[in-house]
Protein backbone atom coordinates (compact mmCIF):
# COMPACT_ATOMS: atom_id res chain seq x y z
CA UNK A 1 0.00 0.00 0.00
CA UNK A 2 2.97 2.23 -0.81
CA UNK A 3 1.19 4.88 -2.88
CA UNK A 4 -1.57 5.35 -0.36
CA UNK A 5 -1.86 8.32 1.92
CA UNK A 6 -2.19 7.87 5.66
CA UNK A 7 -4.56 9.63 8.03
CA UNK A 8 -3.21 11.33 11.16
CA UNK A 9 -4.59 8.52 13.35
CA UNK A 10 -3.02 5.73 11.29
CA UNK A 11 -0.91 4.39 14.18
CA UNK A 12 -3.89 4.40 16.53
CA UNK A 13 -5.92 2.35 14.06
CA UNK A 14 -3.15 -0.21 13.69
CA UNK A 15 -2.65 -0.42 17.47
CA UNK A 16 -6.40 -0.95 17.89
CA UNK A 17 -6.30 -3.98 15.59
CA UNK A 18 -7.75 -2.36 12.48
CA UNK A 19 -7.70 -4.14 9.18
CA UNK A 20 -6.41 -1.41 6.85
CA UNK A 21 -7.58 -1.35 3.24
CA UNK A 22 -7.14 1.03 0.30
CA UNK A 23 -10.03 3.48 0.06
CA UNK A 24 -10.12 6.65 -2.05
CA UNK A 25 -6.33 6.86 -2.11
CA UNK A 26 -5.93 6.33 1.63
CA UNK A 27 -5.14 3.43 3.89
CA UNK A 28 -8.32 3.26 5.94
CA UNK A 29 -9.63 1.00 8.73
CA UNK A 30 -12.40 -1.21 7.30
CA UNK A 31 -12.97 -2.92 10.63
CA UNK A 32 -11.44 -3.42 14.05
CA UNK A 33 -11.43 -6.49 16.29
CA UNK A 34 -15.19 -6.42 16.90
CA UNK A 35 -15.93 -7.01 13.22
CA UNK A 36 -18.44 -5.25 10.96
CA UNK A 37 -21.59 -6.77 12.46
CA UNK A 38 -20.81 -5.96 16.11
CA UNK A 39 -19.43 -2.53 15.21
CA UNK A 40 -22.66 -1.71 13.38
CA UNK A 41 -24.87 -2.88 16.24
CA UNK A 42 -22.72 -1.09 18.81
CA UNK A 43 -23.18 2.22 16.95
CA UNK A 44 -26.96 1.82 16.92
CA UNK A 45 -26.98 0.87 20.63
CA UNK A 46 -24.31 3.13 22.14
CA UNK A 47 -21.67 5.23 20.38
CA UNK A 48 -19.25 4.64 17.54
CA UNK A 49 -16.14 6.70 16.78
CA UNK A 50 -15.23 6.94 13.08
CA UNK A 51 -12.11 8.48 11.60
CA UNK A 52 -13.23 10.22 8.42
CA UNK A 53 -10.12 12.35 8.06
CA UNK A 54 -9.72 11.22 4.45
CA UNK A 55 -12.63 13.48 3.55
CA UNK A 56 -11.92 16.94 2.17
CA UNK A 57 -12.28 19.97 4.43
CA UNK A 58 -12.27 23.37 2.79
CA UNK A 59 -13.04 26.95 3.75
CA UNK A 60 -14.49 29.60 1.43
CA UNK A 61 -14.00 33.26 2.30
CA UNK A 62 -15.17 36.37 0.56
CA UNK A 63 -18.03 38.85 0.59
CA UNK A 64 -20.02 36.83 -1.91
CA UNK A 65 -18.88 33.35 -1.01
CA UNK A 66 -22.44 32.06 -0.56
CA UNK A 67 -23.62 33.54 -3.86
CA UNK A 68 -20.54 32.14 -5.59
CA UNK A 69 -21.07 28.65 -4.20
CA UNK A 70 -24.68 28.75 -5.38
CA UNK A 71 -23.37 28.78 -8.96
CA UNK A 72 -22.09 25.23 -8.36
CA UNK A 73 -24.80 23.74 -6.13
CA UNK A 74 -28.61 23.82 -6.39
CA UNK A 75 -28.83 24.59 -2.70
CA UNK A 76 -29.86 27.66 -0.70
CA UNK A 77 -26.47 28.72 0.67
CA UNK A 78 -27.30 32.43 0.93
CA UNK A 79 -30.19 31.65 3.26
CA UNK A 80 -28.22 29.27 5.44
CA UNK A 81 -28.15 30.78 8.93
CA UNK A 82 -24.91 31.21 10.85
CA UNK A 83 -24.19 28.11 12.93
CA UNK A 84 -26.20 25.87 10.61
CA UNK A 85 -25.23 23.10 8.22
CA UNK A 86 -26.93 21.84 5.08
CA UNK A 87 -26.57 18.85 2.73
CA UNK A 88 -25.99 19.52 -0.94
CA UNK A 89 -24.29 18.40 -4.14
CA UNK A 90 -22.22 19.75 -6.99
CA UNK A 91 -24.02 19.25 -10.30
CA UNK A 92 -22.81 19.09 -13.91
CA UNK A 93 -24.22 20.43 -17.17
CA UNK A 94 -26.27 17.28 -17.70
CA UNK A 95 -27.90 17.63 -14.31
CA UNK A 96 -25.79 14.79 -12.89
CA UNK A 97 -24.16 14.83 -9.47
CA UNK A 98 -20.39 15.44 -9.32
CA UNK A 99 -20.14 14.96 -5.55
CA UNK A 100 -22.27 15.43 -2.45
CA UNK A 101 -21.19 17.64 0.41
CA UNK A 102 -22.03 19.34 3.68
CA UNK A 103 -21.88 23.13 3.79
CA UNK A 104 -21.74 25.12 7.02
CA UNK A 105 -22.13 28.83 7.66
CA UNK A 106 -19.47 29.66 10.24
CA UNK A 107 -20.05 33.39 10.30
CA UNK A 108 -17.21 34.95 8.35
CA UNK A 109 -16.70 31.89 6.16
CA UNK A 110 -18.28 28.76 4.73
CA UNK A 111 -16.90 25.38 5.76
CA UNK A 112 -17.39 22.46 3.38
CA UNK A 113 -16.83 18.74 3.82
CA UNK A 114 -16.57 16.74 0.59
CA UNK A 115 -15.88 13.11 -0.34
CA UNK A 116 -12.29 11.88 -0.33
CA UNK A 117 -12.48 10.35 -3.80
CA UNK A 118 -13.79 13.60 -5.31
CA UNK A 119 -11.94 16.17 -3.24
CA UNK A 120 -9.27 17.17 -5.75
CA UNK A 121 -11.90 17.74 -8.43
CA UNK A 122 -14.04 19.62 -5.92
CA UNK A 123 -11.16 21.86 -4.86
CA UNK A 124 -10.44 22.63 -8.53
CA UNK A 125 -14.11 23.44 -9.07
CA UNK A 126 -14.16 25.77 -6.06
CA UNK A 127 -10.96 27.49 -7.21
CA UNK A 128 -12.77 28.68 -10.35
CA UNK A 129 -14.95 30.86 -8.10
CA UNK A 130 -14.08 34.43 -7.23
CA UNK A 131 -13.57 33.53 -3.57
CA UNK A 132 -10.66 32.69 -1.30
CA UNK A 133 -10.37 28.90 -1.09
CA UNK A 134 -8.44 27.43 1.84
CA UNK A 135 -7.90 23.69 1.70
CA UNK A 136 -7.56 22.36 5.23
CA UNK A 137 -4.76 19.81 5.58
CA UNK A 138 -3.89 20.14 9.27
CA UNK A 139 -7.17 19.00 10.83
CA UNK A 140 -8.56 15.52 11.44
CA UNK A 141 -12.26 14.78 11.06
CA UNK A 142 -13.89 12.40 13.52
CA UNK A 143 -17.52 11.31 13.67
CA UNK A 144 -19.11 10.23 16.94
CA UNK A 145 -22.40 8.53 16.16
CA UNK A 146 -25.15 6.75 18.01
CA UNK A 147 -27.63 7.30 20.83
CA UNK A 148 -24.75 7.56 23.31
CA UNK A 149 -22.85 10.17 21.30
CA UNK A 150 -24.35 13.18 23.08
CA UNK A 151 -23.52 11.90 26.57
CA UNK A 152 -20.00 10.88 25.56
CA UNK A 153 -19.13 14.21 23.94
CA UNK A 154 -20.96 16.29 26.57
CA UNK A 155 -18.61 14.85 29.20
CA UNK A 156 -15.84 16.79 27.45
CA UNK A 157 -17.92 19.80 26.36
CA UNK A 158 -21.30 20.09 28.11
CA UNK A 159 -22.63 22.69 25.62
CA UNK A 160 -22.90 20.20 22.76
CA UNK A 161 -25.99 18.73 24.46
CA UNK A 162 -27.88 21.90 23.52
CA UNK A 163 -27.14 21.55 19.81
CA UNK A 164 -29.95 20.39 17.49
CA UNK A 165 -29.62 18.34 14.30
CA UNK A 166 -27.49 20.28 11.75
CA UNK A 167 -26.40 22.90 14.29
CA UNK A 168 -22.72 23.81 14.22
CA UNK A 169 -20.60 25.25 17.04
CA UNK A 170 -17.01 26.05 17.92
CA UNK A 171 -16.11 24.06 21.01
CA UNK A 172 -12.91 23.58 23.00
CA UNK A 173 -11.92 19.91 23.06
CA UNK A 174 -8.63 18.75 24.60
CA UNK A 175 -7.58 22.39 24.76
CA UNK A 176 -7.99 22.96 21.05
CA UNK A 177 -10.59 24.64 18.87
CA UNK A 178 -12.96 22.05 17.46
CA UNK A 179 -15.63 22.70 14.83
CA UNK A 180 -18.51 20.49 15.83
CA UNK A 181 -21.66 19.79 13.84
CA UNK A 182 -24.60 17.73 15.05
CA UNK A 183 -24.73 15.49 12.04
CA UNK A 184 -23.19 12.41 10.50
CA UNK A 185 -23.91 9.73 7.97
CA UNK A 186 -25.17 6.72 9.89
CA UNK A 187 -28.84 7.62 10.40
CA UNK A 188 -28.09 8.07 14.10
CA UNK A 189 -27.82 11.16 16.25
CA UNK A 190 -24.24 12.26 16.61
CA UNK A 191 -21.51 14.72 15.81
CA UNK A 192 -18.80 15.39 13.28
CA UNK A 193 -15.74 16.96 14.83
CA UNK A 194 -12.99 18.79 12.96
CA UNK A 195 -9.95 19.15 15.22
CA UNK A 196 -6.30 20.16 14.76
CA UNK A 197 -4.25 17.07 13.92
CA UNK A 198 -2.09 17.80 16.96
CA UNK A 199 -4.89 16.84 19.36
CA UNK A 200 -6.66 14.23 17.23
CA UNK A 201 -5.09 11.30 19.02
CA UNK A 202 -5.71 12.71 22.47
CA UNK A 203 -9.33 13.40 21.59
CA UNK A 204 -9.83 9.92 20.12
CA UNK A 205 -8.25 8.26 23.16
CA UNK A 206 -10.27 10.41 25.56
CA UNK A 207 -13.49 9.44 23.80
CA UNK A 208 -12.47 5.78 23.65
CA UNK A 209 -11.81 5.78 27.41
CA UNK A 210 -15.58 6.14 27.73
CA UNK A 211 -16.89 2.58 27.94
CA UNK A 212 -19.82 3.36 25.64
CA UNK A 213 -17.52 4.37 22.76
CA UNK A 214 -15.91 1.91 20.31
CA UNK A 215 -13.89 2.55 17.18
CA UNK A 216 -15.90 1.70 14.08
CA UNK A 217 -14.53 1.00 10.61
CA UNK A 218 -15.68 1.81 7.11
CA UNK A 219 -17.42 -1.57 6.76
CA UNK A 220 -19.97 -0.74 9.42
CA UNK A 221 -20.15 2.87 8.24
CA UNK A 222 -21.35 1.49 4.90
CA UNK A 223 -24.03 -0.81 6.36
CA UNK A 224 -25.18 1.94 8.75
CA UNK A 225 -25.64 4.52 5.98
CA UNK A 226 -27.32 1.92 3.75
CA UNK A 227 -29.88 1.10 6.45
CA UNK A 228 -30.23 4.86 6.91
CA UNK A 229 -31.18 5.21 3.23
CA UNK A 230 -28.21 7.54 2.64
CA UNK A 231 -26.51 7.71 -0.75
CA UNK A 232 -22.88 6.73 -1.25
CA UNK A 233 -21.25 8.83 -3.96
CA UNK A 234 -19.94 6.75 -6.87
CA UNK A 235 -22.55 4.09 -6.16
CA UNK A 236 -26.05 5.43 -5.47
CA UNK A 237 -25.32 8.79 -7.05
CA UNK A 238 -22.81 9.75 -9.70
CA UNK A 239 -22.24 12.08 -12.63
CA UNK A 240 -25.03 10.36 -14.58
CA UNK A 241 -27.73 10.42 -11.88
CA UNK A 242 -29.78 13.56 -11.32
CA UNK A 243 -30.89 14.77 -7.88
CA UNK A 244 -34.52 14.18 -8.85
CA UNK A 245 -33.91 10.57 -9.92
CA UNK A 246 -31.84 10.10 -6.75
CA UNK A 247 -34.86 11.29 -4.73
CA UNK A 248 -32.77 14.11 -3.27
CA UNK A 249 -35.14 16.89 -4.40
CA UNK A 250 -35.70 17.75 -0.72
CA UNK A 251 -32.15 19.18 -0.72
CA UNK A 252 -33.07 21.72 -3.43
CA UNK A 253 -34.79 24.49 -1.52
CA UNK A 254 -37.68 26.42 -3.07
CA UNK A 255 -35.54 29.55 -3.52
CA UNK A 256 -33.37 27.69 -6.06
CA UNK A 257 -36.35 26.42 -8.07
CA UNK A 258 -38.26 27.83 -11.03
CA UNK A 259 -40.09 31.06 -10.30
CA UNK A 260 -37.94 32.07 -7.33
CA UNK A 261 -35.54 35.00 -7.17
CA UNK A 262 -32.43 32.76 -7.11
CA UNK A 263 -34.02 29.91 -9.05
CA UNK A 264 -31.60 28.09 -11.36
CA UNK A 265 -28.12 29.42 -11.95
CA UNK A 266 -26.33 26.14 -11.22
CA UNK A 267 -24.90 23.59 -13.67
CA UNK A 268 -27.61 21.47 -15.29
CA UNK A 269 -30.38 23.75 -14.02
CA UNK A 270 -32.44 23.23 -17.19
CA UNK A 271 -32.49 19.44 -16.70
CA UNK A 272 -32.96 19.52 -12.94
CA UNK A 273 -35.68 22.18 -12.89
CA UNK A 274 -37.54 20.36 -15.65
CA UNK A 275 -37.35 17.09 -13.73
CA UNK A 276 -38.53 18.82 -10.57
CA UNK A 277 -41.63 19.88 -12.49
CA UNK A 278 -42.22 16.78 -14.58
CA UNK A 279 -40.55 14.00 -12.66
CA UNK A 280 -37.66 11.75 -13.68
CA UNK A 281 -37.76 8.53 -15.69
CA UNK A 282 -35.87 6.59 -13.05
CA UNK A 283 -36.09 6.70 -9.28
CA UNK A 284 -33.86 5.60 -6.44
CA UNK A 285 -35.79 3.29 -4.14
CA UNK A 286 -35.27 1.06 -1.15
CA UNK A 287 -35.35 -2.63 -2.00
CA UNK A 288 -35.99 -5.46 0.42
CA UNK A 289 -35.02 -8.91 -0.86
CA UNK A 290 -37.64 -11.36 0.38
CA UNK A 291 -35.17 -14.21 0.89
CA UNK A 292 -31.97 -14.22 2.85
CA UNK A 293 -29.54 -13.80 -0.03
CA UNK A 294 -27.94 -10.34 -0.07
CA UNK A 295 -28.36 -8.44 -3.34
CA UNK A 296 -25.26 -6.38 -3.88
CA UNK A 297 -24.28 -3.53 -6.17
CA UNK A 298 -24.75 -4.47 -9.82
CA UNK A 299 -27.59 -6.96 -9.35
CA UNK A 300 -30.00 -6.50 -12.27
CA UNK A 301 -33.64 -5.88 -11.34
CA UNK A 302 -36.43 -7.46 -13.42
CA UNK A 303 -40.14 -6.68 -13.57
CA UNK A 304 -42.94 -9.24 -13.47
CA UNK A 305 -42.64 -9.71 -17.24
CA UNK A 306 -39.01 -10.75 -16.88
CA UNK A 307 -37.75 -7.52 -18.45
CA UNK A 308 -34.61 -5.91 -17.01
CA UNK A 309 -35.73 -2.57 -15.56
CA UNK A 310 -33.02 -1.40 -13.19
CA UNK A 311 -30.03 -2.12 -11.02
CA UNK A 312 -29.00 -2.36 -7.39
CA UNK A 313 -26.54 0.43 -6.53
CA UNK A 314 -25.86 -0.51 -2.88
CA UNK A 315 -26.78 -3.69 -1.15
CA UNK A 316 -25.78 -6.10 1.52
CA UNK A 317 -26.78 -7.37 4.89
CA UNK A 318 -28.39 -4.93 7.30
CA UNK A 319 -27.36 -5.97 10.80
CA UNK A 320 -30.09 -3.92 12.51
CA UNK A 321 -32.73 -5.06 10.00
CA UNK A 322 -31.51 -8.63 10.46
CA UNK A 323 -31.61 -9.40 6.76
CA UNK A 324 -30.59 -8.18 3.34
CA UNK A 325 -31.28 -4.57 2.32
CA UNK A 326 -30.54 -2.69 -0.88
CA UNK A 327 -31.05 0.51 -2.81
CA UNK A 328 -31.25 0.86 -6.54
CA UNK A 329 -32.82 2.54 -9.52
CA UNK A 330 -36.08 1.44 -11.14
CA UNK A 331 -38.46 3.25 -13.53
CA UNK A 332 -40.59 5.79 -11.64
CA UNK A 333 -43.64 3.78 -12.71
CA UNK A 334 -42.34 0.87 -10.62
CA UNK A 335 -41.16 2.94 -7.66
CA UNK A 336 -44.27 2.71 -5.48
CA UNK A 337 -43.77 1.06 -2.11
CA UNK A 338 -44.80 -2.56 -2.22
CA UNK A 339 -44.05 -3.06 -5.93
CA UNK A 340 -42.89 -6.62 -6.45
CA UNK A 341 -39.76 -7.05 -8.54
CA UNK A 342 -36.95 -9.56 -8.94
CA UNK A 343 -33.19 -9.40 -8.54
CA UNK A 344 -30.95 -11.80 -10.41
CA UNK A 345 -28.46 -13.47 -8.09
CA UNK A 346 -26.24 -16.25 -9.40
CA UNK A 347 -28.58 -16.85 -12.34
CA UNK A 348 -31.74 -17.03 -10.22
CA UNK A 349 -34.40 -14.34 -10.17
CA UNK A 350 -35.24 -13.84 -6.52
CA UNK A 351 -38.19 -11.75 -5.31
CA UNK A 352 -37.74 -8.33 -3.78
CA UNK A 353 -40.11 -5.54 -2.92
CA UNK A 354 -39.81 -1.76 -3.16
CA UNK A 355 -39.58 -0.50 0.41
CA UNK A 356 -39.67 2.74 2.32
CA UNK A 357 -36.36 4.45 3.16
CA UNK A 358 -34.79 4.58 5.65
CA UNK A 359 -34.87 0.91 6.65
CA UNK A 360 -34.12 1.93 10.24
CA UNK A 361 -35.80 5.03 11.74
CA UNK A 362 -33.46 8.00 11.94
CA UNK A 363 -32.30 8.93 15.45
CA UNK A 364 -31.65 12.61 14.69
CA UNK A 365 -32.22 15.15 17.47
CA UNK A 366 -34.49 17.63 15.67
Amino acid sequence: MDDLKRVFLHDLHVEQGAKMVPFAGYEMPVQYKLGVMKEHLHTRAAAGLFDVSHMGQVILRGDNAAEALETLVPVDVVGLAEGRQRYGFFTNENGGIEDDLMVTNRGDHLFLVVNAACKDADFARLQTLDVDVEIITDRALLALQGPGAEAALARLAPDVADMAFMDVATVTLCGAEAWVSRSGYTGEDGFEISVPATVARTLAETLLADETVELIGLGARDSLRLEGGLCLYGHDIDSATTPVAARLSWAIQKVRRTGSARGGGFPGADVILRELAEGSDMARVGLLPEGRAPMREGVVIFDENDQPVGKVTSGGFGPSVGGPVAMGYVPSTLAAEGTKLFGEVRGKKLPLVVAKLPFVPAGFKR
Binding site: Q31, V36, A293, P294, P324
Partner: protein
Protein backbone atom coordinates in the same frame (compact mmCIF):
# COMPACT_ATOMS: atom_id res chain seq x y z
CA UNK B 1 -8.46 -33.75 10.02
CA UNK B 2 -7.25 -32.88 6.51
CA UNK B 3 -7.16 -29.47 4.81
CA UNK B 4 -7.38 -28.06 1.29
CA UNK B 5 -5.77 -24.98 -0.21
CA UNK B 6 -9.33 -23.64 -0.48
CA UNK B 7 -9.40 -23.51 3.34
CA UNK B 8 -11.76 -26.44 3.82
CA UNK B 9 -11.33 -29.09 6.47
CA UNK B 10 -12.28 -32.74 5.92
CA UNK B 11 -12.90 -35.27 8.64
CA UNK B 12 -13.54 -38.97 8.02
CA UNK B 13 -16.61 -40.15 9.92
CA UNK B 14 -17.34 -43.82 9.16
CA UNK B 15 -17.79 -44.11 5.41
CA UNK B 16 -18.44 -40.41 4.81
CA UNK B 17 -16.32 -37.28 4.93
CA UNK B 18 -17.52 -34.20 6.83
CA UNK B 19 -16.56 -30.90 5.17
CA UNK B 20 -16.44 -27.40 6.61
CA UNK B 21 -14.33 -24.24 6.40
CA UNK B 22 -11.39 -23.51 8.64
CA UNK B 23 -11.35 -21.01 11.48
CA UNK B 24 -8.81 -19.05 9.45
CA UNK B 25 -11.23 -18.88 6.49
CA UNK B 26 -14.14 -17.89 8.72
CA UNK B 27 -12.08 -15.10 10.22
CA UNK B 28 -11.01 -13.85 6.82
CA UNK B 29 -14.60 -13.89 5.54
CA UNK B 30 -15.94 -11.88 8.46
CA UNK B 31 -19.47 -12.20 9.77
CA UNK B 32 -21.29 -14.81 7.68
CA UNK B 33 -24.85 -13.76 6.85
CA UNK B 34 -26.00 -16.22 4.18
CA UNK B 35 -25.30 -19.85 3.30
CA UNK B 36 -26.75 -21.81 0.39
CA UNK B 37 -26.12 -25.54 0.51
CA UNK B 38 -26.42 -28.16 -2.26
CA UNK B 39 -29.22 -30.70 -2.33
CA UNK B 40 -28.60 -34.03 -0.69
CA UNK B 41 -27.90 -36.64 -3.35
CA UNK B 42 -26.01 -34.23 -5.65
CA UNK B 43 -23.10 -35.85 -7.48
CA UNK B 44 -20.12 -33.50 -7.46
CA UNK B 45 -16.72 -33.35 -9.08
CA UNK B 46 -13.67 -31.85 -7.44
CA UNK B 47 -13.73 -28.01 -7.69
CA UNK B 48 -17.46 -27.81 -8.47
CA UNK B 49 -19.01 -24.79 -6.75
CA UNK B 50 -21.23 -26.52 -4.21
CA UNK B 51 -21.87 -23.93 -1.50
CA UNK B 52 -22.43 -20.18 -1.66
CA UNK B 53 -21.40 -18.32 1.44
CA UNK B 54 -21.85 -14.60 1.92
CA UNK B 55 -20.34 -12.47 4.63
CA UNK B 56 -21.05 -8.83 5.39
CA UNK B 57 -18.28 -8.08 2.91
CA UNK B 58 -18.64 -10.39 -0.08
CA UNK B 59 -19.91 -13.60 -1.61
CA UNK B 60 -17.64 -16.61 -2.03
CA UNK B 61 -17.99 -20.14 -3.28
CA UNK B 62 -17.03 -23.30 -1.48
CA UNK B 63 -15.70 -25.92 -3.89
CA UNK B 64 -16.17 -29.67 -3.70
CA UNK B 65 -12.86 -30.91 -2.28
CA UNK B 66 -13.05 -34.30 -4.02
CA UNK B 67 -15.29 -36.29 -6.39
CA UNK B 68 -18.28 -37.88 -4.72
CA UNK B 69 -21.89 -37.49 -3.61
CA UNK B 70 -23.36 -35.05 -1.10
CA UNK B 71 -25.23 -37.24 1.39
CA UNK B 72 -26.16 -34.77 4.12
CA UNK B 73 -26.18 -30.97 4.57
CA UNK B 74 -26.17 -28.91 7.75
CA UNK B 75 -29.36 -26.83 7.54
CA UNK B 76 -28.60 -25.32 10.97
CA UNK B 77 -26.09 -22.97 9.33
CA UNK B 78 -28.67 -21.89 6.74
CA UNK B 79 -31.03 -20.88 9.56
CA UNK B 80 -28.24 -19.27 11.60
CA UNK B 81 -25.26 -18.36 9.37
CA UNK B 82 -23.50 -16.76 12.35
CA UNK B 83 -22.68 -20.29 13.59
CA UNK B 84 -20.01 -20.43 10.88
CA UNK B 85 -18.08 -17.75 12.76
CA UNK B 86 -18.80 -19.22 16.17
CA UNK B 87 -17.75 -22.83 15.59
CA UNK B 88 -16.38 -23.26 12.06
CA UNK B 89 -14.43 -26.45 12.78
CA UNK B 90 -17.19 -28.08 14.83
CA UNK B 91 -20.99 -27.60 14.79
CA UNK B 92 -20.89 -25.42 11.69
CA UNK B 93 -19.87 -28.17 9.24
CA UNK B 94 -21.27 -27.65 5.73
CA UNK B 95 -21.97 -31.07 4.24
CA UNK B 96 -21.10 -34.73 4.40
CA UNK B 97 -20.05 -36.55 1.25
CA UNK B 98 -19.34 -40.05 0.07
CA UNK B 99 -15.96 -39.75 -1.56
CA UNK B 100 -15.30 -41.79 -4.69
CA UNK B 101 -11.66 -42.49 -3.98
CA UNK B 102 -10.72 -42.21 -0.32
CA UNK B 103 -7.05 -42.57 -1.30
CA UNK B 104 -7.20 -38.98 -2.57
CA UNK B 105 -7.55 -37.86 1.04
CA UNK B 106 -3.88 -38.68 1.43
CA UNK B 107 -2.94 -35.90 -1.00
CA UNK B 108 -4.48 -33.23 1.23
CA UNK B 109 -2.61 -31.27 3.86
CA UNK B 110 -2.44 -32.34 7.48
CA UNK B 111 -2.84 -29.76 10.22
CA UNK B 112 0.86 -28.91 10.40
CA UNK B 113 1.05 -28.40 6.63
CA UNK B 114 -2.10 -26.24 6.64
CA UNK B 115 -0.78 -24.07 9.45
CA UNK B 116 2.35 -23.52 7.41
CA UNK B 117 0.22 -22.80 4.32
CA UNK B 118 -1.66 -19.97 6.02
CA UNK B 119 1.30 -18.50 7.90
Amino acid sequence: MKFTEEHEWLLVEGDVVVVGITAHAAEQLGDVVFVELPEEGTEVSKDDEVVVIESVKAASDILAPLDGEIVEVNTAIVDDPGKVNEDPEGDAWFFKMKVEDMAEMDDLMDEAAYKKFIS
